[in-house]
Assembly symmetry: C2
């Protein structure tokens, strides 16, 4: 856990850097934000020799011809998000940036002229503008070009870089007009004009500080850099450094989850790069034990098969090839030379026309890429890393597996009520799934492209996840503030060749009910397969209905108990908190013993069996998403809910076992049936003993939750093994020394 700067250190830092700043600015040359003069020279040389960079450069030039041939269009702001003027102003800043880069590399006047003319158009327009007509009523942060200042800040981040790249080709008059009528007023509007946004330790603040800070470097306003770094009062209570300190956990995890993490990353990486180029002595990349570099790497680690784990409000198709992470990987590779990053860059297949992009391109051309190392890890959540954790377990036995366990904190307004939920991936596919966000991004017909009503009524609710629901009520009674104030605790996490294990608990999701879950991904080398073990302990004080849903992607192949299927009529499982969206397709109460549900994931052609220890009182409800969905907004995915009623406590125990292969194309089916024949669990103090018989082998999995592992001993009463020598004792130490 990296140390944090305390206030005294911060002030000292501020003093020193302020002195340096003045001298640096005085000798400023352009460009010198993300791209420097040195970068430009290297890029110019690279365009002459065949390779990825040359290809990227040539295709960028070719694509830009269409922009040059179209009439310039700087419309009077009118539309909200998705509307014409909104999209046109977005295109404009991207095009100015692109033209600036092409001007630097090629030296061709047409690119400089494009940026210059557009900036002059903007400079003519801007003084006439009031705040945007489509701003939200009573909004604290309207823009002028855009309905909200977040977009305005993004405009400045791109535009200031474009200006920096053409400055040396402009006359003094042109520069004076552009700076005094446009860029300086915009920077002031976004800083002193909106203190609450600018000073806020929030992703929107990061964009604003990045834009204003870079404007300070370019236009020789050193105080703006101070504002950007330390807030408008230079107090250090806000500003870019405070954001770096508060928005990421010490492990570089952003608590809204990876979908928002990659979005937040871009202004951090961009401004940090500009700081590094202008004031390397600030060592911004080393700040807080290198948290920014950790954040880049963590974003990659938070993915499976190229897609981000879809926790909280996440759209599933986002992955490591997003433009934000293209920038992140380039910066990280240029700084570290980690060749594993090149594998990610290769898959991104998007070479940036920057100095760092060139380094990536040349390294890929030279064949330096190595396999990126995905690791099992627990990422502490919260600014201090002590508000729960997000746990990733990886397995490679019998296929590339990932298990995500989420004893993480609520994650603000985009968080879901899914404490201690899990997801499971195998052979490239989601197997135990999370619905993600209910949203069709930018599809007007689907609630204007915004989050659908079903995002709140279903996707955020606890029952939409793979974790316990008490009395059909969501965690924290669905209250975001309560959720933000109460994180789960990670009891332990450990990983070794044997596998990975974690345990976490939360006592505040429900009144007077404690939830504790132990999850392990265990490598059974003799069987050539890893299995996922799940033990969920619920302890309450009065009688409850306790549900544990499991949402799977695939089709039921077999259950070892009869299901009373609802074949001619379907009704919803419940009436509220997400239950109203689940059709009840069938129900059963398997007799005591092992209850098995096998499904086939048709995308990877593999079978999965969940084997649960049941006591004869646990009911299985088979469900499909889609009830009370008049606009067909929800995906009709399947699941089953294990339910006990009228009890104060319950322990759910199960093993998830991938097996076999279904290949109708090549006409073979292998091991379609589960090989688990026994599963028992017992606890001795802090030791959990799991007896598992699978594929004719017998395992005793001993999970040690004690603080000190060296002196653990335990006794084990054999309850049915035919031969002692077939028993493999298999230790997972919760606390590694």
């Amino acid at each position: 856990m990296g140390g944090l700067f305390n206030v005294r250190t911060l002030k000292k830092l501020f003093f020193v850097t302020a002195v340096v700043l003045v001298s640096t600015s005085a000798s400023a040359q352009h460009p010198n934000l993300v791209i420097t003069k040195t970068d430009v020279k290297a890029m110019q040389m690279a365009t002459a020799k065949p390779g990825r960079f040359q290809t990227a450069y040539q295709s960028a030039k070719a694509r830009f011809e269409a922009v040059l041939s179209a009439p310039m269009d700087v419309p009077v702001p009118k539309d909200g998000a998705g509307g014409y003027t909104h999209e046109q102003h977005k295109r404009n800043y991207q095009n100015m940036y692109q033209a600036g880069v092409l001007y630097q590399i090629s030296g061709e006047q047409k690119y400089r002229n494009f940026v210059r003319d557009m900036l002059l158009d903007y400079a003519e327009l801007y003084p006439s503008l009031d705040v945007h007509p489509k701003r939200k009523v009573k909004s604290q942060n309207p823009g002028k070009f855009f309905w909200q200042s977040l977009n305005e800040a993004m405009w400045l981040v791109y535009t200031i870089q474009a200006y920096d790249m053409v400055m040396n080709g402009l006359t003094e008059d042109e520069k004076a007009t552009i700076e005094s009528d446009l860029l300086k007023p915009v920077a002031q509007f976004l800083s002193v004009g909106q203190p609450s946004t600018f000073n806020k330790v929030h992703n929107h603040g990061t964009w604003a500080t990045a834009g204003v800070g870079m404007a300070g470097y370019v236009m020789n306003e050193p105080e703006w850099v101070e504002f950007a770094l330390y807030d408008l009062e230079k107090s250090g209570q806000g500003g870019f450094l405070k954001q770096l300190e508060k928005l990421f956990s010490p492990d570089g995890y952003y608590n809204e989850g990876p979908y928002y993490q990659r979005f937040a990353l871009l202004p951090f990486v961009t401004f940090a790069k500009a700081i590094e180029n202008n004031q390397p002595e600030r060592d911004v990349f080393g700040y807080r034990d290198g948290v920014l570099m950790k954040a880049i790497d963590t974003t990659i680690q938070l993915s499976y098969n190229g897609k981000f784990f879809p926790i909280n409000d996440a759209i599933k198709s986002k992955g490591t090839d997003t433009i934000e992470l293209v920038h992140g990987v380039a910066v990280a590779y240029a700084r570290t030379g980690e060749t594993g990053l090149l594998e990610i860059a290769d898959k991104q297949d998007n070479i940036l026309l920057t100095g760092d992009g060139l380094k990536v391109a040349e390294a890929l051309d030279a064949g330096l890429a190595t396999a990126y190392q995905y690791k099992s890890m627990a990422l502490g959540d919260g600014a201090e890393g002590d508000e729960g954790a997000l746990v990733i377990m990886r397995g490679e036995l019998g296929g590339e597996q990932a298990l995500l366990f989420k004893p993480a904190s609520q994650g603000l307004g985009h968080g879901h009520f899914d404490k201690l939920t899990w997801q499971y991936y195998d052979h490239g596919q989601e197997i135990v799934s999370d619905y993600g966000a209910a949203r069709f991004l930018n599809v007007e017909a689907k609630f204007g492209g915004r989050y659908l009503p079903e995002n709140t009524s279903y996707a955020k609710q606890t029952v939409a996840h793979n974790t316990v629901v008490i009395d059909e009520t969501s965690h924290f009674n669905g209250n975001v503030e309560t959720g933000n104030a109460n994180a789960p605790s990670l009891d332990f996490f450990a990983t070794s060749e044997t596998g990975s294990v974690a345990q976490a608990h939360i006592n505040t999701a429900y009144n007077k009910v404690s939830l504790q879950r132990t999850v392990a991904l265990v490598n059974l080398a003799e069987v050539g397969q890893s299995i996922a073990l799940d033990i969920f302990d619920v302890e309450g004080k009065s009688h409850h209905q306790i549900d544990l849903p499991l949402h799977y992607l695939g089709q039921i192949i077999e259950t070892n108990f009869a299901i009373n299927a609802n074949t001619s009529q379907l009704a919803a499982v419940g009436t509220q908190n997400g239950y109203q969206h689940l059709w009840l397709k069938g129900k059963s109460t398997p007799q005591a013993g092992l209850a098995k549900v096998t499904w086939l994931n048709e995308l990877n052609g593999r079978f999965y069996t969940q084997t649960s220890v049941v006591d004869g009182d646990e009911a299985f409800l088979f469900t499909q998403v889609g009830a009370n969905d008049p606009n067909f907004n929800l995906r009709n995915e399947n699941g089953f809910i294990r339910r006990v009623s009228g009890v104060s406590s319950h322990r759910f125990v199960s093993v998830l076992e991938p097996h076999g292969e279904y290949n109708p194309g090549k006409e073979y089916t292998l091991n379609a049936q589960s090989r688990v024949s026994a599963l028992k669990i017992s606890r001795q103090n802090e030791l959990t003993l799991v007896e598992l018989h699978i594929a004719g082998k017998a395992y005793l999995i001993a999970i040690n939750g004690a603080q000190h592992v060296n002196s653990v001993t335990f006794s084990y009463q054999d309850q049915g093994f035919t031969s002692h020598d077939r028993l493999s004792v298999f230790g997972l130490n919760g606390h590694q020394e």
Copy 2:
């Protein structure tokens, strides 16, 4: 349409070839079936130089080491399909074949010994065997190693080739034992021992004749070759040539559909290759205007994005990379040198260790592959090509599209009751879909891996397809014999740069109701998109309920009319003929005009809108597959049924329009809304006039169904165009001159 041999020609051919046969057999050398001595020399040279062939050879050798190190296992037959002895005997013949090939190429004794020892084991076992214990009661065609003689014939096809490849390395005693105790008795059991199967003009007969005929070549039994070619009476009423004549249409279409066509192909190609190598003067590849070569090509044409069109009982994952077509493509390329076939071979990524496989490998190494040309075509169905047709339309405007129109004949027992149905594909995905077969191949828990009960109760029924259902009753009242006896008629088919059009009708699917459908895939160059036009005319004599279902893959985005969704309860649409398996999710009767249903295919991120002309009496029923499915055997796919009731006739008119793109990963959504603003239809004699307004353009699509196209004139009354000069007249001539 190629000419057929008449009986006189056949007899003459028989006479001539019988003479040649004797002389050829007398000088036989080994191997000389699919692989010849010349092939072997070429393959031996190829193993010495780097390339695809060398790689395939080395990896085959490496893989075979595991077989060699395992104990030989020739079990006493006991199990049915999927059981242990069944699977082991399958592995055995494949391994013997593989070892024979490796022996020829490498000359290494261990491979010869493997084949020899296994054959001797089989020769010891065979005389002790009665018919298989798991044969069907009263079966006409049991095997001895296998429960049915189809597998026994497959065993012989592989094993006789293996024997041919090791013969020259065996002692006379060994050969005598193997031939007299095993191979000759097996060949006799499969021929004179089972005349009804052997003489049958059916796919099972093809395997038997191929095995027996090749056994005749190898063991110098020329009469067996005669039996194989002309049946046991040498009458020409059965046998391989009759099968070539009857089982394929003149266009090389096999009337069970491509899923069974590729399966049927292997014995045809294998035996034909052996005939060609032993008796080239028979010109078997030239037989019936080269129907076998046409059949290979047709099998490829019957695919989209590498998968076969899933008509009739088809499992969807089968495609052009199946082993049967790997053989077919190798043989076809070696004969024709068509470099388009190399693209298919390249995607198959499976180099055969045969002479033809070598030619493919060398051509691919030399970079000779060119794009395979998929064409729009009507494949005549039935032995004479006059029992309806299967129509493929291809489009490339705005994406790679395919439209399959099926006025084909029933296709025997695996056929579906889906006369005049259609399917539509775009951007790599199935959009308007066919359920295919309800089956989990070889998955024991799913009805023993056989066709599921729901295959009959749902997948074969008319309502599971995209064609008209009268009074909730399937075509031919679900009777296969009636179906086989009554094919639709193709009225016309034409294709040009403008697009493709076809019309077909059937008057026998229902009593006193005629069904006529006109389907076109029209290229609208100005819009940069093709659209699919569908006009379905139903004419009866009394009042009926007329349904036209459309099964789509995707999620509803928008309808331009309100749907009364069943949000809290679901019931089945009907009680029988497949309707009992459809949940009714919602219903609506849009007002007269254009009714639009837009869905998103999430796999390709594209939008599709079906725009229907409705009169205010047409109801839309939104459905999902899955009712009355107690074992969760069916995939829960969605559709909608257009329904009119109490009418004797109805015309359904609609346009399917692909549009836009949904890319949440890159955060853009384009053209999510349909651009069709008007659709009208009128008929003048044999001319169909369709007025279509789309994306601000106006088209008049004139479809001419007359026999002679040159003199067509028509008058057109403008019904609402704002400007005449925007009208593009667009002719599709049903009968090309």
